[in-house]
């Protein structure tokens, strides 16, 4: 049960940080006094980010940020452009390697991790500007999400009989369920390149779902969508969260959406954390408001 204890300790550390940041808009001090919503219900910490700093050639993209994500919650990361939100995701799934700080996922701390290792450990992700495999059909794109779950070797693949075939079909079944869930059956066999933006976003979500991740990172899942599409997307995200019990961390600009979806919100500004807590609480924070209105720079 080392992981569990580890997890707990992490919870404590990060949430105290969270709480203080939530209430006192300073962000650096750490007095573990006021326990906040995060710990009050007994959810275990899935991932915790501690004092992470990331910089490109001297330019600090992220500066000493700590927060945590609890199992089964929807965690929003918000902040004005250039706040370092996407960089944060890139750090979490190992695309960037922070100069300082540690990331603890499922109780296992790690420093440097290749993206595919992150994927293998159960972190999936969608992208701000859709990153689908343009040359493939919707079906194949979602199928590609199963890559980690398929193991048949070259030999069987070459013959495409027996195990390989069976495996392919098993996974097709699962993928079809996702396609059904996202209501993209009618574009199943179409190459994704030609699809309208909204649908592409949906396919990308499907691809991430296919990985059956423990933690799903969504980078502006609703960017550039019209109201109706946003509502659909929210529906899927919620469904995903409470039917598949998937933990979700999402970056979103539309405050309305965040309020509806998120259990807790982290606010970044210029690479620093300026708020952390339940949406309504965060909304009150003066510093957050300033950041959004571009005051106090």
């Amino acid at each position: 049960m080392t992981t569990a204890t580890a997890g707990d300790s992490k919870t404590e550390v990060s949430t105290t940080a969270g709480s203080t940041n939530g209430s006192i808009p300073d962000g650096s001090t750490t007095d573990g006094s006021i326990p906040d919503v995060a710990t009050s219900d007994g959810k275990a910490t899935l991932l915790s980010v501690e004092n992470v700093t990331l910089s490109f050639g001297g330019v600090k993209a992220i500066e000493d940020i700590s927060f945590d994500i609890l199992e089964g919650e929807i965690r929003a990361i918000i902040g004005p452009n250039g706040a370092g939100k996407t960089s944060m995701l890139n750090v979490i799934n190992g695309f960037y390697h922070p100069q300082q700080g540690t990331i603890t996922f499922r109780g296992k701390p790690r420093r440097r991790m290749r993206p595919y290792e992150a994927a293998a450990s159960g972190i999936a992700r969608t992208f701000q500007n859709v990153a689908l495999f343009k040359g493939m059909s919707t079906l194949d794109n979602v199928m590609s999400g199963r890559s980690l779950k398929m193991h048949r070797g070259l030999f069987w693949q070459m013959l495409h009989v027996g195990p390989a075939r069976r495996e392919e079909i098993e996974h097709r079944q699962r993928v079809e369920e996702i396609i059904d869930f996202l209501e993209i059956a009618h574009i199943r066999k179409q190459p994704v390149g030609k699809l309208p933006y909204g649908l592409q976003k949906r396919v990308e979500l499907g691809r991430a779902m296919a990985m059956e991740p423990d933690l799903l990172l969504l980078d502006e899942p609703m960017a550039g969508m019209n109201l109706e599409e946003k509502e659909d997307m929210s529906r899927y995200i919620i469904g995903l969260n409470d039917e598949f019990r998937t933990t979700i961390a999402l970056i979103e600009h539309d405050m309305g959406v965040v309020m509806d979806l998120a259990d807790r919100v982290v606010v970044l500004d210029y690479g620093r954390k300026i708020g952390d807590g339940p949406p309504e609480e965060v909304q009150q924070s003066q510093q957050v408001i300033d950041a959004y209105l571009g005051v106090a720079r």
């Binding site: 290749r114 595919y116 040359g135 890559s147 048949r152 693949q157 070459m158 390989a164 075939r165 990985m211």
Partner: protein, 361 residues
Amino acid sequence: MIYREAGQYKTSYASDQALLPIRQDRIGLLLILVIAFVIVPIFGSSFFLGSIMIPFLVFALAAIGLNILTGYAGQLSLGTGAFMGVGAYACYKLTSYFPDVNIIVHVLVSGLFAALIGVIFGLPSLRIKGLYLAITTLAAQFFLEWCFIRIAWLYNNNDSGAIEVPRRYIGDLALTGPTATPVTRYLVILSLVAIMTLVAANVLRGRIGRSWMMIRDMDIAAELMGIRPLRAKLSAFAFSSYYCGVAGALMVFFWLGSAEVEAFDINHSFLILFMVIIGGMGSLAGCFMGAAFLWILPIVIRFVPSVLGIDMLAATTEHISNIIIGALIIFFLIVEPHGFARLWQIGKEKLRTWPFPYASS
């Protein structure tokens, strides 16, 4: 129009994922196979078999090899010729050491050596992308060419510096060497190519093939989906080089009969590349179309003058065909950058939706 898909429904994923889900396609392929395996050997003149069909098949196979790497895995390669060479020399050494083992086995094994070399020169692909990668493959090309010349052991130290294909039999049927008939050689190659094409198709539609295309389309996303770039790329290099290697071995043993380093020079690398481009990146059918086009067109051009009764130096026609092919490549890139395969695809789509101009629903 010829496509009548009404009433063709799939009741299992197996049938839905079949290589040719549409009945008419299956029939078409069957026809082609019958023609290739029965009609051609019976009616084909030895010139037609030996100088058109056999080379065509060899190049088609090599093109498949290159297409797997470039068209499916997105790794540009200018070293195809050299990898073919590896296969050829490997096969030559194998059959000199183990003359009693069936030559076809040797051909298939020699591919493995090509694969190995391919992997070695594929290693840099982890860090190097796109045009830059071309240089590594060029390095392979020239380095290997150099080896083929300098390492006399490869051609059993004979003075000609060429590899002479020995006589090899199955039972008392001559497979290789001067006594082997075009028909036999054609049928051997055809069978191998047919099987290997099927294998390639299978791999490409499975997990591994998908991982290649993922790397090709968006390597970053692929990595975040859990694909190990190195493994994916190297497997592509290995697989591709294997095909090139086998093609090379077939080229020497079942077509040329003897070969020197020139048979594997950079120009051949380019020829195969053109075949892939004109045929269509990322399409197996395209490999055959490209190979047919680029191999048969020059022959046709060579014949045109004599048909028109103009006497013209072989060299001249050579040059003219160069110009024409070059022009055609440009033309194709302008009208349809994705080659014959795409043209065929478009045509097929038209036929499927006929009389409608597109699928209205």
